[in-house]
Symmetry: C2
Subunit: 510 residues, 2 copies
Amino acid sequence: MEQKVMNQTIMSALEKFNELDEKISHFNSILGLLSWDQKVISPKKGRSIFANANGTLRTEAFKLTVSEEMGEALSTLSTPEAEEYLDEAVKAKIRERLKFYNRSKSIPAAMIKDFSVLTSRANDAWEEARENNDFEKYLPFLEKIIEFKKKAVEIYGYENHPYDALLDEFEPGLTVEKLDPLFVKLRESSADLLRRIQESSYKPSVEIFEQPYPIEKQKDFNRYILPLIGFDMEAGRLDETVHPFAQPVNTRDVRITTRYLENNVRSAIFGTIHEAGHGIYEQNINPEFQDTVLQEGASFGIHESQSRFLENMVGRSEEFWKYFYPKLQEHFPEQLGKVALDDFYRATNAVQPSFIRVEADELTYNLHIMVRYEIEKALIAGEIEAKDLPGIWNAKMNDYLGIAPSTDSEGVLQDIHWSFGGLGYFPSYSLGNLYAAQILNKIKKDLPDFYESIEQGNFSVIQDWLKENIHQYGMLYTPNELIVKATGEELNADYLVQYLEEKYSKIYKL
Amino acid sequence: MEQKVMNQTIMSALEKFNELDEKISHFNSILGLLSWDQKVISPKKGRSIFANANGTLRTEAFKLTVSEEMGEALSTLSTPEAEEYLDEAVKAKIRERLKFYNRSKSIPAAMIKDFSVLTSRANDAWEEARENNDFEKYLPFLEKIIEFKKKAVEIYGYENHPYDALLDEFEPGLTVEKLDPLFVKLRESSADLLRRIQESSYKPSVEIFEQPYPIEKQKDFNRYILPLIGFDMEAGRLDETVHPFAQPVNTRDVRITTRYLENNVRSAIFGTIHEAGHGIYEQNINPEFQDTVLQEGASFGIHESQSRFLENMVGRSEEFWKYFYPKLQEHFPEQLGKVALDDFYRATNAVQPSFIRVEADELTYNLHIMVRYEIEKALIAGEIEAKDLPGIWNAKMNDYLGIAPSTDSEGVLQDIHWSFGGLGYFPSYSLGNLYAAQILNKIKKDLPDFYESIEQGNFSVIQDWLKENIHQYGMLYTPNELIVKATGEELNADYLVQYLEEKYSKIYKL
């Protein structure tokens, strides 16, 4: 009898939970579409008006996330008694909704509203400051944002380092304690590799990229490769924006963007492949997770691993271009007709320290992240102050990359992330590279013909592996569970270090 | 003291009402965008999944419309005591919300759900039936839809004719009693004019349209004229769909579509001008009505008057082509280089009875509507039965247009409207023509240089008049109030009859 009553309570809590979870997921799907629409195709005069409608729906979704009903259902369902009755997927849904609930519920509504106003103003101030190279104008906003984040981490709580509370938002379960050794190893080996590369006299010539590539031809080429590498064009779109991005609406409607620059043919090609990596991930999530909290990728880092894997491990490999280079030459006979494949391949992998993260090569990119990671950690721990950032930034750039920008616009002001409060976000980019290299190591073992497949343009065998081991799971597993399940071990920096060493040793004859 | 208490109650009801009205309007704005997205650009595999998310938001908006809170606020605010405190706009908002509330509240939720399932299936059945010329397959669905509509009109209530309850949904306040004399006059005079046109030996030659017009050039021309005739391209978009339509998202984001057929250059041009008429209306609604129930056009008929006015009264006028024809010739030198303006103008206004409504000319179009109006009225009144429709359809076509289709696909099965339950909708099209002609009569009085302005490509003076007298008001006035305010008199068929008589007398030398 006791047992039966229990069942009843759990069942009705579960029903309520599923109803709320579906509604929030529907609203998030719509919000995804709206965000894409406003960035990609909405007429500009309507945007500020539409922001109000958008805000109403966002608020509605947020209210459901932290509603009393949700709290009650979660509290009933997260007892050990209830867990006996729940399958893996339901437990994962509860885990994720509970995380959102606790995190959002903990911050007072007034604080959230103030922060929303602050970040909106901070974004304008940042844009202006970057344009005018005027850090002082941005400083008061940045200070307030850091102050808010410091308060927030105290509310969220953490065990060792306050930055853990921020990391957890983007990479659930990750801590400074786990991340520091990985990043130190990556940073030190990358800095050493960079030094050796700079000393090499066997350098690729990047002059082949310093000529105009007609944009219409670039579009043709990008639209040609996109379905071949695994992106389903009937379950997605490719559009153009200044800042490329991927936006899922649902698993059969995933929209990516790229940008075409006449004087930089690499930008569109690798931008498209990168966003395709994000897109293919979303397109292959288990359809049963559709309209639940599990319908998205496992974390920012795991997501980034899929885009980086396709962009770098696949798209910047010699075998990739063995297959695609003749087609690229057909598109650009004047520019590349007389350029040998090897020269082209080496040029696409040229390493050159530069000031701007988003333009960095595969090796120095991680060093850009290390600058930001060290700074964010120290800011949150109160070890440094925002007003000293320009100097600290330049010193770290000099330290890690051997160059320092002459303006703050090319330095500390270059990224949008802090202005929207995204502290804790940057590590995801390098985590993505670490995950990707570890996945590469495993996939090469499982598919000994990995590079031969690429050379033959057979990407489906690779996409099948990724779907089987990563994509299908959506948010079912935590990032750590997922990488252990997929590769048999916890995240380890050795694979990326080794991959970079091997790749550049060959390209630069080290 | 009593007075003060009253004030307090009204004030809080008003506050609640405005909050709900804004939220519903925001949701409707989003639903408009979603509908556009799914029709125009969404990847096809994602649509059936997205329909669930869309349905969740639609249900949410509907629930608010008929919520207890809304009912209470409306009941407090629609008392004579309250009305003393309310301005014209608030009263109009209450009028509109009360209409939605009463109409939606009156139909039981189960009935609405059943009807939604029915129309979804009916639409599939209709598509199949039209494709296979199989009326019998569609008949059971049509019978159920009519049965539902008959029940609904009894619930909605009506004074004289049951069809009044359906008319009211599309043209608030309109009745069979008012409409019959207008339509009879229009029908009889149109049939007579058609007879005389067919007897004329001075016929325009439409052969100039029976040749290919390259689609890229058509696009250029359409994009060229659109901003010139008053459509703000920064507050809207032009896209392509098989069935052109206009969709407002908000007053600064109005999206229209057109279609390009290589063998029918008129289709895109007049389709674009027609939809631009709808779009310009929405773009010029008072921004203060944004995010309220008043943010849209006054009725289907008034909306159609704006599209028809621009398409026919302006776009098919001789003066319009005096201005634009040289540019059109530039776009199509091979096709039109040797065709005189007068021959082109007459050809665009050629009258030819045909089976398909959407392809009909300006004169016979209304006769197509009369066929549908007479049938709908008789169906709802129980004077005819659905199973007899093919024969009735053909007889009426013969009666009004002098031709009868040889297949039901070209006859009674051609329109989508009945399959979604849109009985009462068709009259809006001819109402639009009637309103448009009455507006033309008034605008020519107010702007004696009306046709000279068109000839000089000066459309702003005309759009300013329309904005001042029609567009700005959104839903502030009922259609009848609006036409009286704009033209000084109630709707009258004489203006359209006279306009058609004058126009075709000249073109066909009657």
